[in-house]
Symmetry: C2
Subunit: 360 residues, 2 copies
């Protein structure tokens, strides 16, 4: 076994999920993530935690969903009982085919998802962490050779998380104290209010309210957005390609939009509900191990030297207790690179310029 | 997908486990049983049952057990809750390496197994069925080419179970009414009492108290065994090879034993406890689809034209209500072929001769 698989597992178990002896841990193994599953089982054994592994495969899901009549029972009790009693859920992604459910009707998928809301909530109430084992299918999605893609994944995942958490704390403090953010880049000049909002220092650990490994971003919930933004990082949204999306905001809402490719998808997203026209998230990527776009949001949005904005739902963690932010059925991230000539300002002070933070 | 995989899945779901709409079904997928998992997911979708798949792999188990200090928590609550609420558990075996846990100490294994007794009992209280997807590792264990092994597995599994259940009912009736069984074969002349005992018509369905697919045997719980028996079908017991084991019984207990190979294993088994020297089961194989020995007890003991006897624990289903039969920590099956010159008699009447039942 590649030593990095073991290091990945230990990072997941110790840094990210903070597993302790006696914890009831569900490990969800996707069909291509077997090797990581073995390493995680070993790490859980070392910690004296309990292990129950579930199996995830788009091929099983597709077969089940297509064969079912679509009248799904709400929150089957045996599965709910499992997640209600679990302490941690470790999600080991690793598909062998990113198009594995391409022929499942969206309606069927949504009906299934809707019927499982309480199970999902129970899982989100645990110390859950989602990570990814590199597979050939994911390498293909990234347009990379397998060996090179593995290097990419481990460079992004096996960071000095403690050091990054400290660096990110600086940005969190600035955002927590600040009232207005301005983004300036090629095709972008946007201002938004972040007054009274709390930024999350997302350092790949449940101890930082962060549930992704890798992570490496600081995010908050903006409002009252004004101006224009161009997202030059290509994305796959709802299975369709979107390039160079451009949004114009007035009084917090999108009033105009365009895209070099995938404009119809953008329109679909914006028309979902009222909240889909407002921003739910401003995120600043700070993971320098993510050095290229791989068409995988888990990595892309964490890329150092990028900023992402999400249309739709805001995270409660960013809002004053009891207050809820932008509401929407969607949360769609769009990414812009902060290259030469770009600036990120908070209350008029430059925090990042030409893609480098002022402390770098 | 091979059509036989789908037929296997439907046989499992409909004939064996009798799954109905709304049933809470756990599907345990072993690493090499993915394709059968997909077919079972489809069949469960068609029936409108609920699906939760767990993952089984000796590689995960080995990593976990070796890393653990051996002080296992008893019956972790989240897993117990899952099985206590499940209606059915479908176990899809299919290993990629039959020696996958060869370097896990027996003690560690036993400690783990002991700590999970309530979970095991909860699983046995469901409508559980164990079946096997053909893998290359299992073909290798059988000394067969993969293609030929697949044919073997499906010939054994895709039977006309209803017809076999009817045929087996004849033998069940004879055994239920009978008082004494006599087995005569090369190196064998054995009598035992089955008075007051109930035979199980094991027809690969929970509707017949049968939890194996394939099945195809009728078994009961004998006592007061007298005589000699030679088991000419080679077996792997506790990972070691046993050939031509010979047992001498007096007054129900083994008084002498020998084997051409693996005599020490036989001795280990017999010395486990007092019950290990007595018989817990007399089983008559009636599955004509199993036409050869493949070193896999799931198939070997069902082979038409064989009889197996188990040292150790008896099944409650064979005993009058409230009565318990032979007690032991082990249940070790040994098989003898009923070839030319063999006879199975019940109360002096010939039921099978030269390997053929009187109704054949």
């Amino acid at each position: 076994m590649d030593d990095r698989v073991r290091e990945h597992a230990r990072t997941l178990v110790d840094w990210s999920a903070r597993i302790e002896a006696g914890d009831d841990v569900v490990v969800q193994v996707e069909e291509g993530a077997h090797d990581l599953g073995v390493a995680v089982a070993e790490a859980l054994g070392e910690r004296g935690a309990n292990l129950l592994s579930t199996y995830r495969s788009d091929e099983l899901t597709r077969a089940y969903l297509r064969a079912h009549d679509g009248e799904f029972e709400a929150n089957p009790g045996y599965e709910l009982a499992l997640y209600e009693r679990a302490d941690s859920v470790l999600i080991l992604s690793g598909t062998n085919n990113t198009a594995g459910t391409a022929d499942v009707a969206g309606e069927r998928r949504q009906a299934y998802s809707k019927a499982r809301r309480d199970i999902r909530e129970a899982r989100l109430d645990t110390d859950w962490v989602s990570t990814q084992h590199p597979t050939r299918a994911m390498a293909q999605q990234a347009g990379m050779a397998y060996e090179a893609y593995r290097d990419f994944v481990y460079d992004a995942t096996l960071r000095d998380w403690e050091a990054l958490a400290e660096e990110q704390a600086q940005l969190k403090e600035i955002l927590d104290d600040g009232a207005e953010v301005r983004l300036v880049a090629d095709g972008t000049d946007l201002t938004m209010s972040i007054e009274g909002r709390t930024a999350v220092n997302s350092a790949a650990s449940v101890a930082y309210d962060s549930h992704n490994l890798p992570s490496g971003e600081v995010f908050t919930a903006p409002e009252a957005t004004e101006g224009v933004v161009t997202f030059d990082v290509p994305m796959t949204i709802q299975g369709r390609r979107v390039r160079d999306a451009e949004l114009t905001f007035e009084d917090g809402s999108v009033t105009d939009f365009a895209a070099a490719q995938g404009e119809a998808v953008l329109e679909d997203v914006l028309d979902t509900d009222e909240g889909a026209r407002r921003l739910g998230e401003l995120g600043v990527g700070m993971n320098r191990g993510v050095d290229r776009v791989t068409d995988n949001i888990l990595f892309d949005e964490k890329m150092g030297g990028t900023v992402h904005l999400a249309l739709g739902r805001a995270y409660d963690a960013c809002l004053p207790a009891g207050e809820s932010g932008n509401e929407s059925a969607v949360h769609v991230d769009l990414i812009t690179s902060m290259d030469e000539g770009s600036r990120l300002e908070v209350d008029g002070d430059i925090v990042q310029e030409d893609g480098r933070f002022r402390w770098e």
